[in-house]
C-alpha cells in the first residue's frame, strides 16, 4: 500500500504536466471569471465562493482520466490486480494519491485566489478548510468514475458526465461553508455535513470502485 502510494506520487511528479496542470487550470479559471462578469468588487465577492469551488471541482476532474488509464494501457493494472493487495485498497490508494497531487494543492492555493476575487477575510480560511475537508470526497468519487470508464475509448467525456452529478452534495455544502463564513454567519453546520458526506464517501467508494475494476479487468 505504501509502495503503491509512493509509486503514484513519484509518477505524478516525474511525468510532468499532470501535477501542476490542475493547479494552473484552477488559476486560469479564477482569473477568467472577472473578465466574464466584470470587475466590480462587490459582485466578485458575492460569487467568489461558488466560483472557487466550481473551479477546484473542475481542476479535480481534469486529472481523473489519468488515475487508471496509463496503468490500464501498459498492463500494470493487471499486475496490481493480481498482487496480494486487495482491489479495494488499490482503489483507496489511488484515490489518496490523486487527492495528494490535486486536492491538497488546490486547498492550499485557494485562499490566494480568493484574494483575487475579493473574498472577505475569514472567507479565505474557511475556503481552505472546506476544500481540505471536501476534496477527498471528490477524489474518491472520481476514482469510482475512472474505474467505471477505464476500458473505454473516449472515456474522458463520459467520465465527467457520470461524475459531475455525484459531486452535487459536496459542492453544495462546500460552497455554503464559504458563503456563510464570508457573510458573517455560522459556517460550522454545513462544514459538519460536508465532513459527513466525505467520510461516507471515503468509506463506501473504494468498494464500488473495486467492483467496477473487477468487471473491467475480466
Amino acid at each position: 500500500m505504501r509502495g503503491l502510494l509512493l509509486r503514484e506520487l513519484v509518477l505524478a511528479v516525474r511525468a510532468g504536466g499532470g501535477f501542476g496542470l490542475g493547479l494552473a487550470f484552477f488559476l486560469i479559471v479564477t482569473v477568467l471569471v472577472p473578465f466574464g462578469v466584470g470587475p466590480e468588487t462587490e459582485t466578485l465577492a458575492l460569487i467568489a465562493p461558488g466560483v472557487l469551488w466550481v473551479g477546484a471541482l473542475l481542476a479535480c476532474l481534469l486529472s481523473l482520466d489519468r488515475v487508471f488509464q496509463p496503468d490500464w494501457e501498459d498492463g500494470s493494472l493487471d499486475l496490481l490486480a493480481t498482487s496480494p493487495l486487495p482491489l479495494e485498497s488499490l482503489a483507496a490508494g489511488k484515490a489518496l494519491a490523486h487527492w495528494l497531487t490535486t486536492g491538497l494543492p488546490l486547498a492550499v492555493a485557494a485562499p490566494v485566489l480568493g484574494l483575487i476575487l475579493n473574498l472577505s477575510g475569514p472567507g479565505g480560511l474557511w475556503l481552505m478548510l472546506s476544500l481540505a475537508v471536501g476534496t477527498p470526497a471528490l477524489s474518491a468519487i472520481g476514482t469510482f468514475g475512472a474505474a467505471l470508464t477505464v476500458g473505454l475509448r473516449r472515456g474522458g467525456l463520459l467520465l465527467s458526465l457520470l461524475v459531475l452529478p455525484l459531486y452535487v452534495p459536496t459542492l453544495l455544502f462546500g460552497a455554503l461553508v464559504v458563503t456563510r463564513a464570508a457573510g458573517g454567519q455560522d459556517p460550522v453546520p454545513p462544514l459538519v455535513l460536508l465532513a459527513g458526506v466525505t467520510l461516507a464517501t471515503l468509506a463506501a467508494m473504494p468498494f464500488a470502485s473495486a467492483a467496477a475494476l473487477r468487471v473491467n479487468l475480466r
Binding site: 467505471l148 473505454l152 452534495p169 453544495l172 455554503l176 464500488a208
Partner: protein
C-alpha cells in the same frame, strides 16, 4: 416472453383508457381553481409524470440489484429499457412544471429543491444511458451500469436532502399523502388518481415493450453469431 405477450395489449389498453378518461375528465369536467384558474389542470400531467420519473429510477434500482445478486439477464435488460422512459417522464415533469411555474410563480425556472432535484435526476438518467451505450460487452455493461445505478441512488438521495438544506422551496406541500387528513378536494382528486394510474400503466407498457425488443435483439445477435460459427 409468453406472459408479457399476453399482458402487453391489456396493459396498453388500460393505459390508453385511464389516460383518456383521466385527462378528459381533468381537463374539461373539473372547475377552475379560484386562485390558479385553468392552469391548475397542468397537475394532471405534472404530478403523474414526476411520480413515475422517480419510480422509474426506483425500478431500475431494484432490477439492478436483481441482476447483481441473481444474474438474471431479463432484469438487466428491463433496467436498460426503463431508463429512456424515465428520462422522458423527467422531461415532461420539468417542462410542464416550467409552463405551470411561469403564470404561478412568475418564473420558468427557480433554483428550488424539488426542481433542482429533478434536474439532477435528469443528469443521472443521461449518464446511465451514456454508460450503457459506451460499453460493447453486454454483460460488462450490465454490471457497470448496475453499480452506477446503486451509487447514483445513494447520491441522488443525499442530494435531495442537501438541496432542502440549501434553499427553501416554492412548491406547495404534498398534495397526496396517505396520512394527511385533508388532501386535495375530491373533484380534482378522482381524475388525478386515474391519471396517475394511467401513467403507471403507460410506464409498464413501454417498459414491457422495450424489454421485449431488447430480448429479441439479443436473440437475433445470438442467432447471427451461431450462423457465423457454423
Amino acid at each position: 416472453m409468453a406472459l408479457s405477450a399476453v399482458l402487453l395489449p391489456w396493459v396498453s389498453a388500460m393505459a390508453a383508457m385511464c389516460l383518456a378518461l383521466g385527462l378528459v375528465w381533468g381537463f374539461f369536467f373539473t372547475p377552475d381553481d379560484f386562485r390558479q384558474g385553468a392552469t391548475v389542470k397542468i397537475i394532471y400531467l405534472h404530478v403523474p409524470a414526476a411520480l413515475m420519473a422517480v419510480n422509474a429510477w426506483l425500478m431500475m434500482l431494484v432490477t439492478s440489484l436483481i441482476w447483481i445478486i441473481r444474474r438474471h439477464h431479463v432484469s438487466a435488460l428491463a433496467a436498460k429499457a426503463a431508463a429512456p422512459v424515465g428520462l422522458v417522464f423527467t422531461m415532461i415533469a420539468l417542462f410542464t412544471g416550467a409552463v405551470w411555474g411561469q403564470p404561478m410563480w412568475g418564473t420558468w425556472w427557480a433554483w428550488e429543491p424539488r426542481l433542482t432535484a429533478f434536474l439532477i435526476l435528469f443528469l443521472f438518467y443521461l449518464g446511465y444511458m451514456a454508460l450503457w451505450n459506451a460499453i460493447d460487452l453486454p454483460d460488462s455493461a450490465a454490471d457497470l451500469t448496475s453499480v452506477l445505478c446503486l451509487v447514483g441512488s445513494v447520491f441522488a438521495l443525499i442530494s435531495r436532502y442537501a438541496l432542502i438544506f440549501w434553499n427553501q422551496g416554492l412548491h406547495q406541500g404534498a398534495t397526496l399523502s396517505l396520512d394527511a387528513e385533508q388532501n386535495i378536494a375530491d373533484v380534482y382528486w378522482y381524475p388525478l388518481i386515474i391519471c396517475i394510474a394511467g401513467f403507471g400503466f403507460l410506464f409498464l407498457a413501454l417498459v414491457l415493450y422495450r424489454t421485449r425488443t431488447e430480448i429479441q435483439a439479443r436473440r437475433l445477435k445470438a442467432l447471427i453469431a451461431r450462423d457465423r460459427a457454423v
